[in-house]
Symmetry: C2
């Protein structure tokens, strides 16, 4: 009984995620979930990315956090249209929270939309937002064992940005080993070692985003 | 109706946590929850701590993880009696999971018990395990905004270990600012900047643990 109840609750989220996905597709917006641990550098990745992408397109960001407006302020300063969702204790965004924001955004003006989730490698996994793709930001100081410990998260993402690569010489973390550990749970993951602070290594990610934007615009 | 159901479910957890607390007190075991982000260095903190404490006492560790036995293996190698709980998808330990393990441990032999939670700054907050104290491990690379973003977690802990302090010269993170941010949400927090890799700065934490062990043994 309990399980049936939980499943029907999850179905409601999935149905809403599907509605969000259709709305985004119809509007020709390429939407990407951005997930990762607290402090992995998700917002800093988005700051650099927005600065690079706004040269050619209009970028929106939905920022999920338990509380504070800090991250929305940061990406807004980079040139994005940003909306903050305060989850008020909830450990993840869900399709209903995201849907409410989408309804109040002028989607027709957007080319690219990032949905930055609450810093958490577990709970956000199960809740689809409706975004076409999912990216995980992990950082070198987190070590090499995260893919094996949080496999659902790593399997649910198409691309990974390994951030804080500038610390490679001072950390006891082997990038080749980390890459291997990621591929062990998700053999198809595209992986870019980057430094969000200096934008080093981010060109591959930008190109992947541009491709997605072109596809979404064509399907409008 | 929904809220009443949720409250009664939480009450069951709180009752179990209280039972665990009484069992630990009766056995004279000082138990400490260890919480923090994925990759903050919780297990490495415990490795160093176990190595230092097992000189004078018997130490147990309950390791919570979504999956894998990695962390239990690591602290076992440091000299602790270690039990791994695989939460099978759950984003936190709860008092029932912990209670089941406690029943199967020889608590009379233990002086100190660590309960390492799943790497998560949100969900573990609400679920008391029955431990007498809570410690948070955060790491310098996570930046200074985590206390304001995850205030419940920082308020629920008595002590904080700021790990990876060896990176202070290469990170754009100000330790004084981080300390201020912690004290803003929890003015009474005891804070130790440490490097778990080299055990630098950990003496204050060890002394705090020894005091707790003495109090717990006296109350037996």
């Amino acid at each position: 009984m309990k399980i049936r109840l939980a499943q029907s609750a999850m179905q409601k989220y999935d149905i809403k995620a599907e509605q969000n996905a259709r709305l985004l597709a119809k509007s020709g917006v390429f939407a990407v979930d951005v997930m990762g641990s607290p402090g992995a550098g998700k917002t800093e990745i988005l700051e650099r990315t927005v600065e690079a992408m706004v040269q050619d397109m209009t970028v929106g960001v939905i920022e999920g956090d338990i509380c504070t407006e800090r991250d929305a302020d940061r990406v807004r300063a980079s040139g994005a249209q940003a909306v903050q969702i305060n989850t008020e204790g909830a450990c993840h965004l869900d399709a209903h929270m995201v849907g409410e924001v989408l309804e109040n955004m002028t989607l027709g003006e957007l080319d690219l939309l990032f949905i930055e989730n609450v810093g958490n490698l577990i709970c956000p996994t199960r809740f689809r937002s409706g975004a076409a793709e999912r990216a995980i930001v992990l950082s070198l100081p987190e070590g090499t064992d995260k893919p094996e410990k949080y496999p659902s998260m790593f399997r649910s993402c198409a691309v990974a940005l390994v951030n804080k690569i500038d610390l490679i010489d001072v950390l006891p973390v082997d990038l080749a080993e980390l890459t291997l550990e990621i591929r062990r749970v998700n053999p198809h993951m595209r992986i870019w070692p980057v430094c969000a602070r200096t934008a080093q290594g981010m060109e591959g990610w930008y190109e992947w985003l541009r491709e997605g934007v072109r596809r979404s615009a064509a399907g409008r």
